[in-house]
């Protein structure tokens, strides 16, 4: 029978069926400080060995560097714990866990990836099935070598249209959220085909797949094509691509047109979407370029393209946090970081920053933030209001002090 990419990856990783559920083995398992710390006590209590230590990648990114004494203690406990786990791949302080996952040369395509964080789904951009799980799920998988899953329904999602110079993966994610909401295809495996004329960059695809979490997707897999191949080749991955069969069965199909103008998600949820140009009345106190959704080189380059030679608006904080050490070094080399600093921006070390509402850069009540991150639920990034947009919109807003369509800055 003709199979979807999702079914093929699932079949390759299924160990056995248990009633209405599958037991699935994984190629990689991701840990980070905030949720990893919750595992320490139960792991010791369980007293079982790791099934596949070499498949575990342990980042430290949420409390880096820690903003409070308690977080410093949590971080240290976690770091000490990961040192005890012989044979795992430790990578603390090298960036946001999801970004270092996709940068890792062992992470290719056609793999099954789980992680103790909802945005683990981002690794689907490389043609993998990747999903986030809670701490107990992860602990279970660490010692058993598999996870449990009801076979998901599969949505084939086709992206169509012409990407203009001010449209990025973030705008497309917001367009999908606006069109499909978050419950229509809740729990579906999204299998996304980029049929746009210009093709999305890999950085834009990561940002899009990341927001699969907000779409309620179980997985957000972007079918392998020449963009994926170039990215994988550059990091030395040789695994051959797996593709869906022609005429494969899907439970549902949707086609999304690339939006024609930059979009913004307004509070209280990522699926409340408006064109950026209609939000000029919203003053901002902080603009944040960072997170696993919007802290890559494309985002930083976009920021610089807008702010170069200008100054951040009075009383506005522009906070830029590269998503990884590699992104940071590339941005330094390209001269981006000095442009941001000259324009009055604040640059912090690779980490989650204010995105999860638990570290440096969070906003106070009565404050508005425009951010390249992924969630704006009330309380997510501090007590203020958060608006989600691409780096282009975010940087343009940092310069004017209110939400701004970057086309106003077009040369």
């Amino acid at each position: 029978m003709a199979q979807s990419l999702t079914s093929k990856i699932l079949a390759r990783h299924t160990l056995r069926q248990d009633g209405d559920h599958l037991l699935i083995s994984y190629d990689h398992l991701l840990l980070h400080d905030a949720t990893g710390a919750l595992l320490i006590e139960p792991f010791r209590k369980l007293g079982k060995p790791l099934a596949h230590p070499e498949r575990i990648l342990a980042a430290a990114d949420h409390f880096v560097p820690p903003a409070t004494a308690e977080r410093a203690e949590i971080l240290q406990q976690y770091l000490d714990f990961t040192l005890e786990l012989a044979g795992i791949r430790r990578s603390p302080f090298t960036g946001i866990c999801h970004q270092i996952m996709v940068e890792d040369p062992l992470v290719g395509c056609g793999q099954f990836i789980i992680g103790a964080d909802s945005h683990t789904i981002m690794a689907g951009a490389l043609g993998n099935l990747a999903c986030g799980l809670g701490s107990t799920d992860i602990l279970f998988s660490m010692v058993t070598g598999f996870t449990w899953l009801a076979p998901p329904k599969i949505l084939k999602l086709k992206l169509q249209g012409n990407q203009t110079t001010t449209i990025r993966g973030k705008d497309i994610a917001l367009q999908i959220l606006h069109t499909l909401g978050t419950t229509t295809y809740a729990d579906y495996a999204f299998e996304c085909v980029d049929a746009t004329t210009t093709k999305l960059s890999m950085d834009s695809r990561f940002s899009l797949a990341c927001m699969g979490a907000e779409m309620g997707a179980a997985f957000f897999t972007i079918v392998h094509d020449e963009i994926t191949a170039t990215f994988l080749q550059a990091k030395g991955v040789k695994t051959p691509a797996i593709l869906a069969d022609h005429n494969a069965h899907y439970d549902a199909r949707e086609t999304i047109q690339i939006p024609s103008e930059p979009l913004v998600a307004i509070p209280p949820a990522p699926w409340c979407v408006e064109p950026a140009k209609d939000l000029k009345h919203i003053p901002i106190h902080q603009a944040f370029v960072g997170s696993c959704t919007g802290g890559r080189l494309e985002d930083i380059a976009d920021t610089v393209a807008i702010i170069k030679g200008k100054k951040v608006a009075t009383n506005v904080r522009l906070v830029v946090i590269p998503a990884s050490k590699k992104v940071y070094l590339d941005a330094l080399e390209a001269g981006y970081i000095s442009e941001i600093i000259k324009a009055g921006g604040i640059v912090d070390a690779p980490s989650c920053g204010p995105c999860g509402g638990i570290d440096k850069g969070i906003i106070g009540s009565g404050q508005n933030m425009i951010a390249t991150s992924n969630r704006n639920f009330p309380g997510r990034t501090g007590p203020g209001d958060t608006y989600l947009a691409s780096a282009l919109v975010t940087a343009a807003s940092a310069i004017t002090g209110y939400i701004t369509d970057p086309r106003e800055f077009a040369p």
């Binding site: 058993t144 419950t183 949820a269 509402g357 969630r375």
Partner: protein, 165 residues
Amino acid sequence: MNRFAYVVGENISTDLIHPPNFFSLDKNIRKQGLLHGYNPEWAKTIEPGSVIIAGHNLGCGSSREVTARVFADRKIKLVCALSFARIFYRNMVNLGIPIATITSRIPWQEGSKVTIIYDEENQTISAQEGQHIELAPPSPFARKIISQGGLLNSIDNLFQVNHHG
């Protein structure tokens, strides 16, 4: 036996269920966060044995497991919703916290606290005025895990661990 049900609306995110500033390794701090983002008064007063009733997509957002664990910490009898967000649902199952899907209309306004009777056997919740909701239990696999007291308790009983998979 009468108990209280607390009714919340649609798309109640993990940040409303348990705001990030209650994230702590200290159970006593964690406990205070229950539904604090939705109603800080409720966070103080929700009684052990209470039932939570929610609309669609309960628990959307973060994978932070404290957002599920807090229901066990506060001894909530049952969390039921028209639908659950995926990771939150798994976290509840994995921790062995009783959940159910609501299969009927919810007759009570969101934000209200209702005195109810929870009939476990017939899977219904009813109030004195005759209003009631019907429930469906989770999948057989999930039920098996919940009945073992959660995923970790199930390892030896339910799963053969294969270290070569």
